[in-house]
Symmetry: C2
Subunit: 594 residues, 2 copies
Amino acid sequence: MSEYLAPLKDMLFALDVVRQQTGIEQNETLAEFDSSFVAAVLEEAGKFARGVLAPLNAVGDVQGCRFDNGSVTTPDGWKNAFDQFNEGGWMGLAMSADFGGQQLPKFIAQPVNEMWLSANLAFVMFHALSQGCSEILSHFGTDAQKARYLEAIVSGRWTVAMALTEPNAGSDLAATTTKAVPQGDGTYRIKGQKIFITYGDHDLAENIVHLVLARTPDAPAGSRGISLFAVPKFRIEEDGSIGAFNDVACTGIEHKMGLHGSPTCSMSYGDNDDCIGELIGEENKGLMAMFVLMNEARLSTGIQGVGIGEMSYQHSLRYATERTQGSHYSSGQRVSIVEHPDVQRMLLSMHSRTVALRAIGYLIAALIDLSEHSTDKAEVKALRDRVALLTPIFKAFSTEEGNRMAGTCVQVYGGMGFVEETGVAQFMRDARIITIYEGTTGIQARDLVFRKILADQGNALNTLLTDVRSSAERLGSRDQAALAVMAAQLTNACRATSSRIEALLGAGDDQQLRLHAGSVPLLEALGTLLCGWQLAEIAAYASDKIAANEDPVYHQNQIALAQFYFAHHLPGLFAQLETVACADAGLGSYQFVE
Amino acid sequence: MSEYLAPLKDMLFALDVVRQQTGIEQNETLAEFDSSFVAAVLEEAGKFARGVLAPLNAVGDVQGCRFDNGSVTTPDGWKNAFDQFNEGGWMGLAMSADFGGQQLPKFIAQPVNEMWLSANLAFVMFHALSQGCSEILSHFGTDAQKARYLEAIVSGRWTVAMALTEPNAGSDLAATTTKAVPQGDGTYRIKGQKIFITYGDHDLAENIVHLVLARTPDAPAGSRGISLFAVPKFRIEEDGSIGAFNDVACTGIEHKMGLHGSPTCSMSYGDNDDCIGELIGEENKGLMAMFVLMNEARLSTGIQGVGIGEMSYQHSLRYATERTQGSHYSSGQRVSIVEHPDVQRMLLSMHSRTVALRAIGYLIAALIDLSEHSTDKAEVKALRDRVALLTPIFKAFSTEEGNRMAGTCVQVYGGMGFVEETGVAQFMRDARIITIYEGTTGIQARDLVFRKILADQGNALNTLLTDVRSSAERLGSRDQAALAVMAAQLTNACRATSSRIEALLGAGDDQQLRLHAGSVPLLEALGTLLCGWQLAEIAAYASDKIAANEDPVYHQNQIALAQFYFAHHLPGLFAQLETVACADAGLGSYQFVE
């Protein structure tokens, strides 16, 4: 069904390439997490992913969650796996050591995260929520709040739900209507409805802490009047034990296309006017706090694209190797379909994209680590700017690619892929939400164009382009024809991107429609550029390894993946940039009539 | 849920553009089917699609078919709809008048077909099979066979199943192992297993005629040893009435990602050595006969891409119009999401592609009609060559686009699209098979590159390119800036395509890997070119209408659609052609290891 073998070698290789680019080795705190330490962690995580999580993936899809009498029952085996997950210390892997976590850097946590996401995406949805909440509390919580929540979250005794979306608001948080009325004792009475709440209710943990966006009575309208509240399902007594029910009711779960094992809940807070929450951070600054969680979630969601890509490739390769059909195009022999060039094209298309996206995801994680462990203010700012620029691109592009790869996987399986029993249709169904939740592709693209490029006068992007050009130069300097070709292609891609960005920066008010309509195509172009960049780094690194005669087959394959990507995917960048230049064509004059 | 309103205006407009291109009006037989006649037929069909078929679409998805004790039960309402379909004469719409059909030309039948496919794809799968079988019998059947089968098929008393695929053969028909042993009385005893047989068993009709590919005892190996047999589920008595069970057993149905209402059967023929078939056409010429059906099926499957695109657009537009969320980018007002440029981008992306693909599909239908009603041998050859070239491009490209559009529709719906109740997830799940059945995209691309281009020395393609260039010239000659821009873009696209094709024609034996690996990218490029071509025709036609002050809003919209496509999709053609030139990059050196 949906077996999973953690690609340890590819992950460690990606981390080596990232180490080389970022100078993690020079950071005192991070340097201690050397390759052999990381390998040991990943190996253990790989065993857990393969042995415990992957076998439950299809179970969760077939059974789904049940909703009866106001409570949610997870699929068979979910509770046991959850307990093992916590006992293994996986929940707190990257959380604060002060509260029982292992506080590993993100550049290790993200490969581990990738394994969970590949092996059983529906199951592990609670993990990013707990991780994000621990970040929020670390940034904005009082000491009392940290003490109250963090140990329980780190250990997995309690889980976290993120209650943003309201029935009529969707992605538009400014339209939040849930109310929070101060009680005079420092607490607030919460009342409102939320939908699409992942793991809003379940039977895995003894309590569920809802992070609820709501408005206090005198709050200003719009997004500047939203506050963040911690609203546990059961109240928490002074001694930290579980108290009375806090009027946090699940009113139903969604019947979804995929992620059947992950309960998506409609929640009603304060039906009996008895729902109490406590403010996290300052009043009316709720969105700022929530953005901390959302940035974490965007990185993690981008990794979901990688995880789906890896599953798609692994399964396709296995099937293509085992499935004998048709004759070889040159020998005429009856062969496995892995011998057919068009099948190879699909396999390398999935694999090269997964390898590139993985490198971007791990790179972002490493840059966040560096920004948290650097003492140089200018460096911290530069790192944060880079992360802020890369995150929306990675989130949106990786999830779009994840969807495309899941579709390609079904194509490799042919008719068998359409049949549910083979398990690959599930990848496609599960993946369909990842371009939507945590901010749709359109929302990421708007963030990219307007906040990360235009508001910044293109500075962060130009710095990035300088780095990409340097990578191209280093690749070209290796004096090998195949690498030089790629170096030239990447330099061209930078040039085309630069000149398009220059035009964008000079766009007048009359070009706003064009900017908006071209935002997703621009994001796609930049996503492709980032992939090309990382594959150039990978090819350069691999060529050094070949020169040193280290595992030449593996490293030659890495170069081949880069060559494939440059031939099959990089040309799309130029097409997307063309579109950006005239993205409003037809839009202004079209009259939408049903 | 899944409402459907037949786009009568768009369909009639597409037919007008096709009429103008093909000269149907000059053909004596075809000219009588004038626009007002066609409009009347389409209007009736539209009522049936909306009133009877569309309401059952979600029912079929939710209930699916049931398999008990060797027989298949279709979803509630299916049988009633089937009877109404036949009573309305829809089954025999394009079948022989000699046997009760209405024998309408394909350029009318395909718009009608599109309606069925939009409204309820799973239900109407039996229709293309009956249509294809009637073509086979018309071409290859004896008079006795025609008499035996056709009236019953045309009236819908009996349906047809197409039994090609075997458990270990997939698309590889040469590997067929089903046996057919002559009985000395002109009949054959059939024995073998087939899988993925659409409507192989069901409870709709009184008999099911299986067209089975099998080998006679002395048949040569491979594809030259395959014969075609008609194998009814129940034997047919001399007087045409239904006789004994013919040992045609359904052994199970597939649990699929989509098309739940269409039973996909595993069949076993002759378990008790009592399955009798009769030869259709000559022994060992079975594939040739089956190709007649498959060509019909390829066109119809391409139309499925159009049908899915239309549903995706209709639903997205309705949802985007009704759903209020977010603020307008320039006015700052709270608006329906149809006002957001990125949503408009997605809407026009779906609509422009659907409009273009529709024109291609109807054009192919009209060309087939002309080839069947022309007496000029050279003209018939030219028409057939054009159809042979266009068919694999249309089948593969339209179905790939159909899948992409169904994905875009879910994106417009956001989280609501992931929830099954809104009905649009079903479009995506249903559509996932259309790039696979009736020959995968890879198989269409191989047919295109090796049979339709290289074996033909590029003649048919060069003739096509000449026509596309003429369309561009006509568009450019209208002396309007917007049209001239598109004309120049299309001319460029032709130039780039020509020079790439020239290189392909000169490719040596050492470039076979490149040709194979580049076949799908080339097909995608040519698909894009065809869409650009038809949109150029549409824009030119619309501009004439505007000049004549006929329905200027509608016709201006058609020009806007063309402009949008040229900005957002045509640039992809150049990227795909780049890829074709180096499609083997990395492939030759990569070593596939699990």
